[in-house]
Amino acid sequence: MSLTSPWLILFMPLVAAFAIAFGLHRHKVLASTVSLVAVWGGFLITCTYVPEAFSGDGSWAIRDSITWLRAGDMTFTYGILIDGLSLIMLLVVTGVGGLIHVYSLGYMHGDPGFSRFFASLSLFVFSMLGIVVAENFFQIFIHWELVGVSSYLLIGYYFRKDSAVAASNKAFLTNRVGDFGFLLGILMLFHAFGTADFAEMAQLVNQEGFLSQPAMELDVGGGHWVTTHGTFLWIAGALVFMGVMGKSAQFPLHVWLPDAMEGPTPVSALIHAATMVAAGVFLLARVFFLYMPSEIAMTIIAYIGLFTAFFAATIAVAQYDIKRVLAFSTLSQLGYMVMAIGLGGTDVAMYHLATHAFFKACLFLGAGSVIHAVHSNDMREMGALWRKMPLTFWTFLISTLALCGLPPFSGFWSKDGILHLTHAADAGPIVYWLPTITAVLTSFYMMRLLFMTFLGAPRYQGEPHESPPTMTMPLVVLAALAVIAGPVLFSQEVIETFRTITRPETAAPFEHIHGDVGTVLAAVLIFALGAIPAWLAFGKGVIDPDKVKAAMGPLHRFLENRWYIDEVYQWVVDNVQQNIARFCDGFDRIIVIGMLVNGSAWTARAGGAALARVQSGSVRVYVLFFLAGVAALLALNL
């Protein structure tokens, strides 16, 4: 193990989490330092791989592996696979994660659970890195679940607050539903391929004729079913996609993400914007070889992504909680990424993932800075904050423009890549227009947020002031990244480097964004279509938003209440699930215990009466009975 061992990247945060939990938690400074060292150490080690990766031809990879479990002829390994795809993800997770650790030093200062917070953060980083470097499906599932639990711990950080606890439960259980499909998908694939290793599976799929071979034979109800690998692949792929829908909060498993804002703001930035929710997109890119051959699977993915992007954007328009607007915006942007993969653009999806991580983390941290200053999440209690907190404002502005896709900010490069895909896809008017309309909505709700928070008339209480440097420094770095990431990431060398070795050979190469005049003009137009109405309503005050709201009537309520989907789910949980539970419990009490057990109660009573005679109340007498029995046995032996 050299000093730059990839295992260190993975396990330093775990060691940090344990060290804090079992001893360091009493020393706050030490606890946070250990946590920071672990994540930044990982970042530095990752950086040492970059030159090597650049010099290669895109097939650069580090691999290592140990046997975790072996039984019969089945072996489960736990290992490291770092290729271009993992490398970019490692940089994002440790880099953005590291900045958020720094920010937390300021944000969580004085909180009684300071050490617990950093322990959970380190546990999360370990879990997330495990997904990034996983070499097989079982390993990724293990870390998938660990990410779920770290998120549960962090959302429910304020465990005495009922809403926070409810949100953490919702997140965990929604993800469990997704993981139900995920695990079944893994089971099917493991048995069909005979391996769970990504690289080996990718090779098998690429093999000539593999897809038409029979994968499974099943005798059900007298019928004999033979499934080919091709059919198998899309069913299993769709099941695996359920896991993605859970973690990346795609419709209809999106409900947990907005509620997850109950956690401390750095958590929202790290987990629910930059890294954890990106895990699903990363997984899709990692196992794209499964989806590539199947048109059905690709179509499902594309439409789920497309719908989520649009649906979440419509909700974001009508929210007043600053973190919730950002949460729905995250949903929407994740929808873009998922859709891009469904359209075959894994590279551009990953680029959007990276740029989004920068500017969305910056936005969340900026929102945290604002909340820290005015002690409210409600944008109606903000306004005119730009003079009071200039650093927060300028970084927030830059990130907003990046999210809106305005050139030359990084969001322009990646989002335009996705829009370009939809326009080239030739899949009907919905796929052509809806993403573009969503982009207009994005500009609208983001500019609305910006105007309501930082401009206009002051509506806040007290004397807000700029946050301490530990909080503003990460904002500046992230904003800088949001500016420069575009041209840097989109140079041809980088595109060639950050490519996964599990990428199907037949996958279409990423078309380079040239940033020509037409594209730039179109992007500016999309921005203006959303920004101008927002300015008229919330900046200049020409249009009265309340009147618009009244004119929209039930439509606004529909959007404000998030299409009533949470209500429907709640109804199902309260009525269907609880009733099944009540029925089973009643059945157990009345039928099984009542009739079967107490039906033979006379046996019990008779037995009881017999036993009562020998019950003298002294335990020692009973034990003597035993000894007598043993003596009898001994006697038999003699």
Binding site: E145, L218, A581, D588, L596, V597, V619, V623
Partner: protein, 506 residues
């Protein structure tokens, strides 16, 4: 030294608790600390022996090792014969771990300490005896030795509805054992071996040599053994003794009961029923799988509607035993290894659950979810351990339960895809009722009634909890050594089953 130990290790294992029991008789009843420390030391010694067994069982040679053999009643074919294979070593480890933890948490027992420890040690002697016996007569004898102290432990030291619970438990277990005994006697008289014998190794050798019973007999006998043993497992609809029994029992008894006693049933199925009656097993196991998937879902939903925490854990245990038997029914090395591993993991996990519940119940005198709430703030150590227990139970990676359930699920997929889908769905239900329990008892605003609750303080009070959770994490993070050990015992059983299936023509 090692050789000497190798000759006597199993005898020692059974004798240590017996010696503790006997010694306790002669210590005056008011010397509580002597009783306690004597029991804890005895438990610790068995723990050391279990660790020794783990490292010294020869995985290359396999088979039954460290044999102890004495003629007993030759005319009836009874001998005192002890020996362990990989499966028994795993179970011995489980028993000693739970024994140590149980003896430690019982430090808090106040009434009739001496009698309590006498019974606890007698129970453990019985359990060790079952796991190391290779003679069916003694197997049965030790089994009863384990059940009867349980009756008294619940009857005297128990809580909620204890008379009803203890009577039901004893009758169920005795009735189950009786059915199994009937099956065993039929095997004994069936003429597998030339002269009737209770010697398991001789019976197995005869079966392996092709002298097994014919299919019709096996088809008839297997359900007897299955029903008899599955009552202890416990399997739906024979499970109702279990949750009530857990609820009534004092902590250490609940721990032994759920942690170890329940495992005797599935252990007996693997040790006796499957290898002696392989064709019967091949015929009936698909039905077991159906029942298992039902058991998993049903137990989970019933747990979701419970208000008493011990009932939640009780029904969840019943649900988890569904995974164990599904793994057994899979007839794959992976699935059956997973089943044994899950017996181990679940035993440690439920012991932890009951120890934790007992800890605060002693102070709150209620386990009702509606009465509790926000305890995490007042008792952070117990609270965090409870969350970890819940996470282990709902199958979080990093704990042994996940690894073992994964093995069961992967192992049974090929043979029973639909049962496996239901089993995977059971994981969703499991998460639902466990998170609900954690939320109701430990999170949210705290009831001022619990302001004076004491947390576990000091190494002695914390030791049993840390031991249990440590074991779960150790084998959860690196399961390979334990699984390879279990494999040595499982592989011959699977071979027998597959050979039987082949001979039956598919």
């Amino acid at each position: 030294m090692n050789d000497l130990l190798a000759q006597h290790v199993l005898l020692l294992l059974v004798l240590i608790p017996v010696v503790v029991t006997t010694a306790l008789f002669f210590i005056p009843a008011d010397r509580h600390s002597v009783h306690r420390w004597l029991s804890v030391s005895g438990a610790g010694l068995t723990g050391l022996l279990a660790i020794w067994l783990f490292f010294n069982y020869d995985q290359v040679t396999r088979g039954f090792q460290f044999m102890v053999e004495h003629e007993w009643v030759p005319s009836l074919g009874i001998q005192f014969k002890l020996g362990v294979d990989g499966v028994s070593v795993a179970m011995v480890m489980l028993t000693s771990i739970v024994y140590v933890a149980g003896a430690l948490v019982s430090m808090g027992v106040k009434k009739r300490v001496k009698d309590f420890y006498i019974l606890l040690s007698a129970l453990v002697a019985g359990v060790f005896g079952v796991f190391v016996s290779l003679d069916l007569f003694f197997f049965y004898f030790f089994y009863e030795l384990a059940v009867v102290p349980m009756y008294l432990l619940i009857g005297y030291w128990g809580s909620t509805n204890r008379e009803y619970a203890t009577m039901k438990l004893t009758l169920y277990l005795t009735a189950g054992a009786f059915v199994a005994l009937l099956g065993l006697l039929l095997v004994y008289f069936s003429g597998i071996t030339e002269t009737p014998t209770f010697d398991l190794t001789k019976i197995l050798a005869a079966v392996d040599a092709g002298g097994g019973l014919d299919f019709a007999q096996q088809k008839f006998l297997f359900p007897l053994l299955l029903i008899g043993f599955a009552t202890i497992a416990p399997m739906w609809p024979l499970h109702t003794w279990s949750p009530g029994g857990h609820a009534a029992a004092p902590s250490a008894a609940s721990m032994m009961h759920a942690g170890v006693l329940m495992k005797l049933g599935s252990y007996a199925i693997i040790r006796i029923a499957l290898p002696i009656l392989p064709e019967g097993a091949v015929y009936w196991l698909p039905w077991v799988a159906v029942l298992c998937s039902f058991n998993i879902i049903y137990g989970g939903y019933v747990a979701l509607n419970q208000k008493d925490m011990k009932f939640v854990i009780g029904y969840s245990s019943s649900s988890h035993m569904g995974y164990v038997l599904l793994g057994v029914a899979s007839m794959t090395v992976l699935g059956m290894d997973g089943a044994v591993f899950l017996m181990f993991a679940h035993g440690v996990m439920t012991a932890l659950a009951f120890a934790l519940i007992g800890f605060f119940y002693d102070q709150t005198h209620t386990r009702m979810l509606d009465d509790l709430g926000g305890l995490l703030h007042q008792v952070p150590f117990i609270g965090i351990l409870f969350v970890m227990m819940a996470m282990a139970s709902l199958g979080l990676p990093g704990f042994a339960n996940f690894a073992s359930e994964l093995m069961v699920i992967v192992g049974s997929w090929e043979r029973y895809p639909i049962a496996t889908i239901l089993a995977v769905f059971g994981l969703v239900i499991g998460a639902t009722y466990l998170l609900r329990t954690v939320r109701a008892a430990f999170q949210g605003p705290m009831d001022p009634r619990w302001e004076n609750l004491q947390d576990a303080k000091g190494p002695l009070q914390r030791a049993p909890f840390l031991l249990l959770v440590g074991v779960l994490m150790l084998f959860g993070i690196y399961p390979l050594p334990l699984v390879e050990l279990i494999s040595t015992g499982i592989e011959p059983v699977v071979e027998t089953l597959l050979a039987a299936e082949a001979s039956m023509g598919g």
